[in-house]
C-alpha cells in the first residue's frame, strides 16, 4: 500500500492534477460563501469587461461570470459524481451478477449492455432529458443510463477471473451463500480496476453534462459551465472571454481527472506502466 502511494504521488502530472481538483472541490463546497448572491442575479451592466469591478466581467444579461463559474463548479461536480455513483452501483450489480452466475443470465445481461453501447448514447441522453424535463435529477439519470455499460464489463471480467481463484472456491465449499461471497470475497478484489474506470467516468460525465447544458437541457435553476458557454456563444465576436473561460474550466477539470485516473492505473498496475 505504501509503495502504491509512493508510485502514485511520484508522478508530477498526478500531483498537479490533484492540486487543481482540490481547488475546484474547495470552490464547489464553499460556493455560497465565495459568491453569496445567486449566480443568476444581475449585478452590473451587461458586457462589463474583465478586471473591472468584477474580476471576469459580466455576461450579456449583466450576471457575474466569476460567480457563475464558482456555482458552475458545484453543479458540474455534483451532477457528475452523483451520476457516476449511480452508474457504478448499477454497473457493478449487472457485471457481478453476469460474471458470477454465468450462463443464460450472463448472456442476457451482456446483450443488454452491448445494446446500450451500440445505440448512439448522447442522442439517447438528449431524448431522456427532453422527456423527463430538464432538471438536476434527470441529468443524473440520463448520464448514469448511458455510462454504466463499461463498468458492467470491467466488473464482469474481474469477477470471472476472481471466481476461479482458490479462496472463492474455498468459500463455496465452506458453504457460504452467494451474496456474502460476492460482496465479501469477490468484489473487494475487483476494486482497483473499478476505481480506475469510475474515475474516468467522472470526467466523461462532466463532458456529457456540459454538452447537455450547452444545448439548453441543463437544470434551469442550476448555473453550469456548459450553460455559460451556451449563453455566451451568440456574443463570441465581441465578448470571447464569456465562452473561453468556462471552457478552460471544463478542460482543466476533465484533464485533471483523466490524469489522476491514468496515474491510479499506473500505480495499481506498475508492470503495465511502460507500455
Amino acid at each position: 500500500m505504501q509503495s502504491f502511494w509512493r508510485r502514485f504521488l511520484n508522478n508530477p502530472r498526478v500531483v498537479l492534477s490533484l492540486v487543481w481538483l482540490t481547488f475546484i472541490v474547495a470552490v464547489a463546497v464553499a460556493a455560497p460563501l465565495l459568491a453569496p448572491s445567486s449566480p443568476f442575479a444581475i449585478v452590473a451592466k451587461p458586457f462589463s469587461p474583465p478586471f473591472g469591478e468584477f474580476l471576469l466581467g459580466t455576461d450579456s444579461l449583466g450576471r457575474s461570470l466569476l460567480a457563475g463559474l464558482i456555482h458552475g463548479a458545484r453543479t458540474s461536480l455534483l451532477i457528475a459524481i452523483l451520476a457516476t455513483l449511480a452508474a457504478v452501483a448499477f454497473g457493478t450489480c449487472v457485471g457481478a451478477i453476469a460474471g458470477f452466475y454465468g450462463g443464460v443470465i450472463d448472456d442476457l445481461l451482456m446483450r443488454v449492455s452491448e445494446f446500450f453501447q451500440t445505440i448512439p448514447s448522447f442522442i439517447f441522453a438528449i431524448v431522456l432529458v427532453a422527456i423527463l424535463a430538464p432538471s438536476g435529477t434527470s441529468l443524473v439519470i440520463a448520464i448514469a443510463t448511458v455510462s454504466w455499460p463499461p463498468i458492467a464489463r470491467v466488473v464482469r471480467g474481474e469477477v470471472l477471473t476472481i471466481k476461479a481463484r482458490e479462496f472463492v472456491q474455498a468459500a463455496i465449499v465452506a458453504g457460504q451463500r452467494d451474496m456474502p461471497i460476492l460482496v465479501g470475497q469477490v468484489l473487494p478484489n475487483a476494486l482497483s480496476p473499478l476505481i480506475v474506470t469510475g474515475s474516468l467516468l467522472v470526467a466523461n460525465a462532466i463532458l456529457i453534462e456540459s454538452a447537455l447544458s450547452f444545448l439548453g437541457l441543463g437544470a434551469p435553476d442550476l448555473m453550469s459551465w456548459g450553460f455559460q458557454i451556451g449563453a455566451g456563444r451568440a456574443f463570441l465576436r465581441d465578448a470571447w472571454w464569456l465562452v473561453t473561460v468556462p471552457g478552460v474550466a471544463i478542460l482543466l477539470t476533465v484533464l485533471a481527472i483523466n490524469l489522476v485516473g491514468e496515474g491510479l492505473n499506473d500505480a495499481l498496475n506498475p508492470r503495465l506502466r511502460d507500455l
Binding site: 446483450r111 448512439p120 442522442i123 438528449i126 427532453a130
Partner: protein, 327 residues
C-alpha cells in the same frame, strides 16, 4: 474467402441486428410512456398545435384505449412500417424530414472518420517510433489535452480563431446559399464550410486513435515475429512499415467501428455549433420546438444508421484480415 460464405456472414450479421433495432423501438415506446401527457399528444408534437381530430385519430391508430401490450405491438408495427408520424412543427411527415438531413451528417461523419483515423494513426505511429523522445511527449500531451476538451467548445474556439479573427473560413452552414455556386465551385464552397466542423469532431477521435495506435505499436514491437524479422536482417523501417503497422492497425479499426455511435452523438453537438444542416441540427431544432416525436424518430433512425455502419465495418474487417474466420 468464397463470396457465398461472405454473404452468409452478412446475412447472419443482419439477423443479429434485428434484436437491436427492436430494442430501440421498445425503448422509444417506454420513453413515450415516460413523457408527460398521453402518447397521442406527444406523437402529435406536444405543443405543436395539432388539430384535435388528428390527435383523436392517433389515439385510435395507436390503440391508446387498449392495454399496454397491445399498444406496444401497434407501436412496433407502425415504426417497422417506417411510419414515424407527422411533425406539425415542420408540416411534414417525420421520415422524409430525417432522410433529407442524412446526407449532410454522413458527409460530416465520413470526413471525420477519414481525418481522425488517418492523422491519428500517423501520429500514433510517429510517437511509437520516437518513443520517450520529446516528440513522443509532445504528441502524447497534445492527445491528452484534445481528449479532455468539450467538443462544442473546440468548435467555438476554432470559429473564434479561424472565422472571426483570421477570417479564413466561414463560421457556419454548409454552403453559401446566396452565391448560387454550381459544379466544381459548389464542391469547393462545401469543402470550405466542412473544414471547421470536421476538424472539431475529429480532434477527440484523433487523440483516441493516436494513443491506441502508440500503445499497440509498442506492444507489437516486443513480439516474437519482430525478433524473427530483425534476425532475418530487415531494417527497422521495413519492420515497422511492413509488419508492425499492419498488425497494430487492427485494434484501431475495431475501436473506430465501436465509436460510430459516439461519433453520431458528437455530430449533434458539432452540427448545432456550426449550423450544419444534418440530423444533429434537426435534433437541436426538435428540442427547441419540444417536438418529442421527431426527436424519437431521429433516435430510431440514427440507431439504425449505427447498426448498419457497424455491419459494414465488420465486413470490411473480414475482408482486410484473412485470419478472422466467419464460419
Amino acid at each position: 474467402m468464397g463470396s457465398a460464405r461472405l454473404w452468409r456472414y452478412v446475412f447472419r450479421r443482419l439477423l443479429q441486428a434485428i434484436p437491436v433495432v427492436l430494442g430501440v423501438v421498445v425503448l422509444n415506446f417506454l420513453l413515450l410512456q415516460l413523457a408527460p401527457g398521453d402518447a397521442a399528444t406527444v406523437l402529435a408534437g406536444e405543443a405543436g398545435g395539432a388539430p384535435a381530430e388528428y390527435v383523436q385519430a392517433l389515439r385510435q391508430r395507436f390503440g391508446l384505449d387498449k392495454p399496454v401490450p397491445v399498444q406496444l405491438a401497434l407501436y412496433v408495427k407502425n415504426i417497422l412500417a417506417l411510419d414515424l408520424g407527422y411533425s406539425f412543427r415542420n408540416q411534414s411527415p417525420v421520415l422524409p424530414l430525417i432522410l433529407a438531413r442524412l446526407s449532410a451528417t454522413l458527409l460530416l461523419m465520413g470526413t471525420t472518420l477519414v481525418l481522425s483515423l488517418g492523422i491519428g494513426v500517423l501520429l500514433g505511429l510517429l510517437a511509437a517510433v520516437w518513443v520517450r523522445s520529446w516528440k513522443d511527449h509532445l504528441i502524447s500531451v497534445a492527445a491528452i489535452i484534445a481528449y479532455a476538451m468539450p467538443l462544442f467548445w473546440i468548435g467555438l474556439m476554432l470559429i473564434l480563431l479561424f472565422a472571426i479573427k483570421l477570417d479564413w473560413l466561414p463560421t457556419s452552414g454548409m454552403e453559401d446559399a446566396a452565391a448560387f455556386y454550381e459544379g466544381w465551385e459548389r464542391v469547393v464552397d462545401i469543402a470550405r464550410h466542412l473544414i471547421l466542423p470536421a476538424v472539431t469532431l475529429s480532434l477527440f477521435y484523433m487523440a483516441l486513435y493516436a494513443r491506441l495506435m502508440r500503445a499497440t505499436m509498442l506492444e507489437q514491437r516486443g513480439l516474437d515475429y519482430v525478433t524473427t524479422a530483425r534476425a532475418k536482417g530487415l531494417s527497422e523501417r521495413q519492420i515497422t512499415l511492413r509488419h508492425v503497422l499492419r498488425n497494430a492497425l487492427m485494434p484501431v479499426v475495431t475501436v473506430a467501428g465501436v465509436q460510430v455511435g459516439s461519433l453520431l452523438g458528437g455530430s449533434v453537438v458539432v452540427e448545432s455549433v456550426f449550423a450544419w444542416p444534418g440530423l444533429g441540427q434537426l435534433a437541436f431544432q426538435a428540442l427547441f420546438a419540444r417536438d418529442l416525436n421527431l426527436l424519437l424518430g431521429i433516435f430510431f433512425i440514427s440507431s439504425c444508421l449505427v447498426v448498419t455502419i457497424n455491419i459494414v465495418v465488420d465486413v470490411v474487417y473480414v475482408l482486410l484480415d484473412p485470419r478472422v474466420r466467419v464460419g
